[in-house]
Structures are given as structure tokens and as C-alpha cells.
């Protein structure tokens, strides 16, 4: 079943891009198409980051272990959309003026933090293959990939800092991200707390693989 479902999910992940392309082709992107493209690719980056981060909690809470087989794909789609987002910025906003771009990165907080989030995702995309997991070893690979937490926080902060006044959209992302991160803190803290008390650690907790 999953074998069939995966290509389907892959195509579904491309729908946001296809929609943009279709609208651009029909000149239906409104008065400021470049702004729409920038915002849309940015939104979808955050959405895919959150989906990626939701896989582990969902898998644990529902027992649907097969979900893990989609995590890399969603993560890579987050990278795909952030790459498009960055391309729109460097091409349609800065017109490949590297000097101006670097000045922006240094001077504008929201660009600095957004750019950081993007750069941190690059090693994750590169080392997303089975070969790299083998080369790095599972433990080290996992540690490296914890960078996604930093990236996701940077992405939400980037959004938060760029809006003029109305923070309700970045706030929605922040809440979902907060829940996903809180889950990890709880999973990490409960066995520790139990161990500190010297009491028996619930068997169910012990079975959680360390992430």
C-alpha cells in the first residue's frame, strides 16, 4: 500500500508549486506576483518543516510506524521550497546582487535569521541519503539532523519579524511548532524525572527510542 501511496504523496507535495505555476501562466497572481511567490514558497517551507517534525510524534502516538518512511521526503520538500524561496529573493528581489544580499543578511534581522535557517538545512539535505547515514553513523547523523529544530524556529522567527503588524499567521506557525517541540521536551524529560526520583521508569517510556 505504502509503495503506491508514496508517489501519490510526492505528487501532492508538488501541488503548491504547480498551483503557483498555473496562476503565473494565467496571470492570476494579482497585482504583485513576486510578493505572492515569495510568500507562498515561504509558507510552504514552514508547512513542510512542521509536517516533517510532526512525523515522529504522530508515529509514536498512533503506532503507525510506517509514517517514518515519509519523513525524509517531507524534509526534502521543505528544503525544496526554501530553495525556491531563497531563489525568488536572490533573483527577483536582489537580481543576483551578492553585495547587496550580504548587506541585507548582515543588517536586517529577519533576513539574518531566515538565511541562517536556510543554510542550516543544506547539510541536512545533503546527508539525507542512506549512504550518508552509514558514513556518519546513526548517532552522529541524528545529532546533526537535530539542526532542523533550529531551522524551524529560525523560520518562524523570520516570519514573525517581517510582518508589519498583523502577527496572526506567524503566530499559528509558532503555536504548532511550540506543540511539536514541547512533545520532544516532555519525552526527554519524563524518564529523567522518573530516574531522579529513583522510582521505576514506566516500561512504555523506556521503549521510546532516543531521538
Amino acid at each position: 500500500m505504502i509503495r503506491w501511496f508514496k508517489p501519490f504523496a510526492f505528487l501532492a507535495c508538488l501541488v503548491p508549486l504547480a498551483r503557483l505555476g498555473w496562476k503565473a501562466y494565467n496571470q492570476a497572481l494579482g497585482a504583485n506576483p513576486i510578493e505572492v511567490i515569495t510568500h507562498s514558497t515561504g509558507d510552504w517551507t514552514l508547512i513542510f518543516l512542521l509536517i516533517t517534525l510532526a512525523i515522529t510524534p504522530l508515529r509514536k502516538l498512533t503506532g503507525q510506524l510506517w509514517l517514518i518512511r515519509f519523513r525524509r521526503m517531507f524534509g526534502l520538500f521543505a528544503f525544496f521550497y526554501v530553495a525556491l524561496h531563497f531563489l525568488t529573493y536572490i533573483w527577483l528581489d536582489k537580481f543576483f546582487d551578492l553585495h547587496e544580499m550580504l548587506r541585507d543578511v548582515a543588517k536586517r534581522k529577519f533576513i539574518t535569521v531566515g538565511f541562517t535557517g536556510f543554510v542550516l538545512l543544506i547539510p541536512l539535505a545533503i546527508t539525507s541519503t542512506a549512504g550518508w547515514i552509514r558514513r556518519l553513523g546513526g548517532k552522529r547523523w541524528q545529532r546533526l539532523h537535530q539542526l532542523i529544530y533550529v531551522s524551524a524556529v529560525a523560520g518562524v522567527v523570520h516570519y514573525w519579524w517581517l510582518v508589519k503588524k498583523d502577527i496572526h499567521k506567524p503566530l499559528e506557525f509558532a503555536i504548532v511548532l511550540g506543540i511539536l517541540l514541547a512533545y520532544r521536551v516532555v519525552v526527554w524529560a519524563i524518564p529523567k524525572a522518573a530516574a531522579n526520583k529513583g522510582g521505576p521508569v514506566p516500561a512504555s517510556r523506556l521503549q521510546l527510542p532516543q531521538e
Binding site: 494579482g30 510578493e35 528581489d93 503588524k165 498583523d166
Partner: protein, 318 residues
């Protein structure tokens, strides 16, 4: 300033909206008529318009030497991409949400330090002076710009008639507060009602426009109907929309955006490529409809206002 002669097609010669809307109605009517004919109804009833077009042309519009010859932004962009937080923070939404705003009857209160305190009907104000078409560049603080053929006359025409007292140094503009009609006002994203202000000498500058139309027609609701100001050398948010009160004061008004974020939006808010917004650069702008960004000009290219600010530190008075 070099006053260039307009060689563009005046927007009044472009197919007026009422005509093309009527064309669409005709087509829709024709389609319906086809169906109706099948049902045996009289075709004529369907083809006759049932309402008088509210957005008729404004008569007697004079051209103005203050107009730019730059390419006018398409009507559909200027009417579908609006920063109008009274309706929504989404620029694409005011077009729909403002549709039913009641703009008649509409009173404008003129008070404060003037000898003629009064409440005027907007239609009385509109008839005070000859309507002019002023094609102005309009630069938003967010970094995009448009060129709009506004219709109105110099704000000074109204101010002169109000006879401000010697003590009056500032003018304050208040936008209507009506959460029932303006859904954005139901949340306190900004401190309602929207307040804007000018120094009296800025308000008296011939470029400062009291505006009630654009593209040869009355203002659409999402663009500030029935009465707004247009200050082309300042960032767009200074140009208050749907004005219900004009008050003359001796102290500097606190404008809404300044109150919301004093370090980001000042009282003057003159377009200035050398003074960045704390979070983004103001050196360039995207003219809607253009692929490449263009450099932003000092005072948005309206150098004739420079003398209003001579001796002032424009970095401090941003």
C-alpha cells in the same frame, strides 16, 4: 522643477469602467436572454439595465501640470491591492469587504482652531473647486509603488475656506470608525479610528490633494471613498482614507502608525531612499507591473516639497 508636458493618453480616454462593465452585463444578459428565450420570456426586459451606474464619470476634470507622464498602473491592480486595515490586513481583501460601505450621506466635520467650524456634506466639499486629474506616483512604506490618476483638488482649497486661526499649526485627519461596516476595526490591530496628520504648511502645499476620484470616476470604496487625501511625497499610509473629520491644532497630532510602532513610522514619513525602515531598506521599490526594482527617489521625486524641510534632520524626523 521641470514640468513635463503630458504626452500620455489621459486615463479619461481609456475605456471607462462603466462601459466595459456594461459590455460584460450585455454579454451576461445575452447569455441569459438565450436561456430566457427558451422559457418564452421577453428578451428586452433582460437587456435593459436595472440600475443607474453609480460610478459615473466625474464631469469637467481639468488636466494638471503636476501630473507625471509615467505609465499609469492598471485600474484592476489599484483596486485589488489595497492596504486598508479597517477592512483587512490582507491586501487582496478590501476590494470585496469594502463593497457595501455606505458613502452617502457622508458628513465631514471641520473643527479645532478655525474660524469656520462646520459640518459639511461630502458633496458640498467636492463642488468647492474644479476637479483636476493628478497623476501621481504613490510609494508604499512596504517597498512597492503605483502610478494613479487621482481626481480632486488641492487640499489648500478646503483649508482656505475653513479659515484656520493663527495658532493653528497642524491638521489632523480622522477616518470613519464603524466596526459594523469595517470588519478590520473589530480587532485592535491598530488603534482606531485611524488618525493622520500634517503640518499646516505641508497641508497647504499645492501637491497635497483632497481626493474623491480616480481614473475619471468617483473613488472606489477600497481606495478611500468618498473622500481622502493624497500626499505623493510621503509614504502611502500618510494619505488617510474615508475622512470624517479634519481638525486644526496647535500641537503635533499622533498618527496611528506612529503610535503603533514609534521607532518604525514617524510623523513626517517622507519618502526617503537614504533612511531605511528599521527592518528593511527603502532604497528601491517594486513598481507594480514591472519586473525589475527601481531606485526610490527622494521625496518620491517631488523635489518641490524640499523647502518645507530645509534645515531639518530627516534621519531624526523620519
Amino acid at each position: 522643477m521641470l514640468i513635463k508636458k503630458s504626452n500620455d493618453i489621459p486615463s479619461s480616454e481609456i475605456t471607462p469602467k462603466s462601459l466595459y462593465v456594461n459590455r460584460r452585463k450585455f454579454l451576461a444578459g445575452a447569455a441569459m436572454a438565450g436561456g430566457a428565450a427558451l422559457m418564452g420570456k421577453r428578451v428586452n426586459d433582460l437587456l435593459l439595465p436595472t440600475t443607474v451606474q453609480a460610478d459615473a464619470k466625474i464631469d469637467g476634470i481639468q488636466k494638471s501640470p503636476l501630473s507625471t507622464t509615467e505609465k499609469v498602473t492598471p485600474y484592476k491592480d489599484v483596486t485589488n491591492y489595497n492596504n486598508y486595515y479597517e477592512f483587512s490586513t490582507d491586501k487582496y481583501e478590501p476590494a470585496g469587504l469594502a463593497k457595501n460601505l455606505k458613502t452617502r450621506p457622508w458628513k465631514v466635520k471641520i473643527d479645532g482652531l478655525v474660524s469656520k467650524k462646520q459640518e459639511l456634506d461630502v458633496d458640498t466639499i467636492i463642488k468647492m473647486a474644479t476637479p483636476e486629474e493628478r497623476i501621481y506616483r504613490h510609494r508604499c512604506v512596504e517597498g512597492w509603488s503605483i502610478v494613479v490618476p487621482w481626481v480632486g483638488f488641492s487640499l489648500s482649497e478646503l483649508i482656505k475656506r475653513a479659515e484656520p486661526l493663527g495658532k493653528a499649526k497642524f491638521v489632523e485627519f480622522t477616518t470613519i470608525y464603524d466596526p459594523g461596516q469595517m470588519p478590520g476595526q473589530r480587532s485592535n490591530i491598530l488603534n482606531w479610528p485611524y488618525i493622520e496628520g500634517l503640518r499646516l504648511d505641508e497641508a497647504m502645499h499645492p501637491l497635497a490633494l483632497l481626493c474623491f476620484g480616480m481614473y475619471g470616476e468617483p473613488l472606489p470604496n477600497q481606495d478611500g471613498a468618498p473622500l481622502r487625501i493624497v500626499l505623493p511625497w510621503k509614504y502611502g499610509f500618510k494619505s488617510a482614507k474615508a475622512i470624517v473629520r479634519i481638525r486644526f491644532t496647535d500641537s503635533q497630532p499622533i498618527n496611528t502608525w506612529n503610535k503603533a510602532a514609534p521607532d518604525e513610522y514617524g510623523f513626517y514619513s517622507n519618502v526617503n531612499p537614504n533612511v531605511d525602515h528599521p527592518r528593511w531598506s527603502q532604497a528601491k521599490e517594486r513598481r507594480l507591473g514591472e519586473f525589475f526594482k527601481r531606485p526610490t527617489l527622494m521625496f518620491n521625486g517631488y523635489d518641490q516639497v524640499a523647502s518645507l524641510y530645509s534645515g531639518m534632520d530627516l534621519k531624526k524626523n523620519f
